[in-house]
Amino acid sequence: MNMLRIVVFGVVALAQLAVPAAMVWQRQQTLNHGRVWKFRTAPVDPVDVIRGRYIALRFAAEEFTAPSKFEAADNSVYAVLKEDTDGFAEIDHLTTEALRTNDAVPVESVWWYNGKQQVRFPFNKFWVAEANAAAAEHAYVENNRRDNQNAYVTVRVQRGDAALDQLYIDGQPLGDYLRAHSLR
């Protein structure tokens, strides 16, 4: 009876290890082999930036001009990406077809208002360590104002899986930026 319990726990322990391991595996594959897209962040309301230990991200590409609402009914929606002249990602078009390519990402919600189609990308939280949260918030807000738009994120996309890679402030990864500015 006890042996049986140990065997069953063996299976449970494997599952407990497999779930986070699978998360790591899939993300690592996308980070290693996915196509890099740069997303310019959009100006944010400062009170909305830090929630707990992540920076809530908004992107300029999440809103684009469209003559009419994109009708998706209850289907999942994917955004097909293209690069603008500055090399930043923008949405080419929306589709309900499950594209498993390196230039399509799933989107969470879709709405249309006043000639603008709006979407939410699923990569909208950038986790930061608790010790850095306040400094990260300050840096992000300072470099993400309408008069000082100086932040973007890199996202790796592979077969429809979008992995948020890094948040760049003033051309540097967030960690490097914070280190450089704390030394001054």
Partner: protein, 448 residues
């Protein structure tokens, strides 16, 4: 002497032994033999020690995380990943050790279980942070709960089961969406069903223990939250009947499954009784019976239909539980309390007889009639509980009945257009009722 033993009864019996010997009912040898017999039956482990062991292991797990979180940013992704798995591997080794060497020790089992469950949560959140994994808090809780439930069974941990039920409620709150449109919360019932076999095992093994009582009460409270979320998701106007059914089912389960010495009630029955009182008062407001017109116009899908079925399951279960005892003429519960789902169903039918108005807040003749039915019922319930309290010489019960009548009176005084004089007289009557009933009860007690 297999099966369940009533610890409270044993304690009472051992306490009575000197008196029985003094009165010559039993010999001192018999008393010693009885005392010796039940001495061995006392629980070996102390619940407080078990709780402390579990808290201790949770603190150790949290400490490990804090230690490695120090300088977290300086570490590479691979290093952080390795560290994320470390507490989990240690916890799993501890579980294996407990299963092999300390299987009979409840503190070991509880501590190992809490450590393992905490380590699973830690691993997932550290990986999520390291790899910038997105997803909602509800997704995280669901994965965590599903990876932890087996531990409850393997280590037979009641604290773990309680933590699991609380975790399920957290998932429910995260999924509920108070501000946006209500999310599909039907998985909550699946999560809750997964822990039911453990509750049954505990019930069979140790029905009268504090752990079992705590577990069933937490489960009942969780179900109360679940019905709220389900009613909102189903959007079918039957939430009132569901709440009436669930509170009655809790009360009847408390009465039937946990029989107590005469005059006493199990905490589960007390919780059910209070829930019945609260639901009766809430349903006595006319606004509870404003039926929304859009329910009939919104297209329904299978998940909302399942939600309606779940809602209706509780009143059906309550009526079945009550009917079985009534048919066998073995009903020990209060009939007035057990009738709540039936009364609510009748009022629901009345409320639905008028055409739905376009405004949710608009009254109809039918909603007024339904509320009147519930007002009469709540008054009857209060009087019946008061009478039962006086009959059984129970001050708590009598006062609960009075409280119900007073609450009903206060609610009606504030939401109806009565003059100040009428309200004043009403309050005086209710207040006098409290005083007279209590004086009578105390006199009776002193006399007996």
């Amino acid at each position: 002497m297999a099966g369940v033993r009533n610890r409270r009864a044993i304690r009472w019996l051992r306490f009575q032994l000197p008196e029985l010997v003094a009165n010559g009912v039993i010999t001192s040898d018999t008393a010693r033999a009885i005392d010796h017999h039940y001495e061995q039956d006392q629980p070996r482990s102390n619940f407080a020690f078990v709780v402390l062991a579990a808290i201790g292991s949770a603190l150790v797990a949290a400490g490990i995380v804090l230690l490695i979180a120090h300088n977290w940013d300086e570490l590479s992704r691979a290093m952080r990943t390795a560290i994320a798995f470390l507490p989990l591997l240690i916890a799993q080794a501890l579980v294996v050790f407990t299963l092999m060497r300390r299987n009979e020790s409840q503190p070991w089992c509880e501590a190992a279980a809490i450590f393992d469950v905490a380590a699973v949560g830690t691993a997932i959140s550290l990986i999520s942070q390291t790899y910038q994994l997105q997803g909602t808090f509800a997704d995280f809780m669901r994965t965590w709960l599903l990876l932890s439930i087996a531990i409850v069974y393997l280590l037979r941990t009641t604290l773990g089961a309680i933590a699991y039920v609380i975790g399920s409620v957290l998932w429910l709150f995260a999924r509920w969406g108070f501000l946006s449109s209500p999310g599909n919360t039907m998985l909550f019932w699946v999560l809750l069903m997964l822990v039911i076999p453990h509750v049954v095992i505990r019930f069979r093994r140790d029905r009268d223990s504090r752990e079992t009582a705590t577990l069933v009460i937490i489960l009942a409270l969780a179900a109360l939250f679940g019905v709220g979320a389900t009613a909102e998701f189903a959007d079918a106007n039957v939430g009132v009947i569901a709440y009436a059914g669930l509170s009655t089912a809790i009360y009847l389960c408390g009465m039937k499954l946990f029989p107590q010495p005469a005059g006493r009630l199990h905490p589960l029955a007390v919780l059910g009784g209070i829930a019945i009182g609260v639901v009766a008062i809430v349903l006595s407001f006319e606004s509870s019976w404003h039926m929304t017109y859009h329910v009939t116009s919104v297209p329904r899908n299978w998940s909302t239909n399942v939600a309606v079925a779940v809602e209706l399951l509780f009143p059906v279960a309550a009526v079945c539980l009550a009917s079985v005892d009534l048919l066998r003429r073995r009903a020990e519960f209060s009939l007035s309390a057990a009738l709540l789902p039936v009364v609510a169903a009748v009022a629901w039918v009345i409320a639905n007889m008028c055409r739905f108005p376009n405004e949710r807040f608009q009254s109809t003749r039918c909603s007024f009639a339904a509320a009147t039915v519930l007002n009469c019922y709540a008054l009857w319930l209060g009087i019946d509980i008061l009478a039962r309290g006086i009959r059984t010489n129970s001050i708590a019960r009598a006062n609960f009945g009075l409280l119900l009548i007073a609450a009903l009176a206060i609610c009606r005084f504030f939401d109806s257009d009565l003059s100040f004089v009428t309200r004043g007289i009403g309050f005086i009557i209710v207040g006098l009722g409290f005083l007279v009933a209590n004086v009578l009860l105390f006199k009776r007690r002193t006399a007996s």
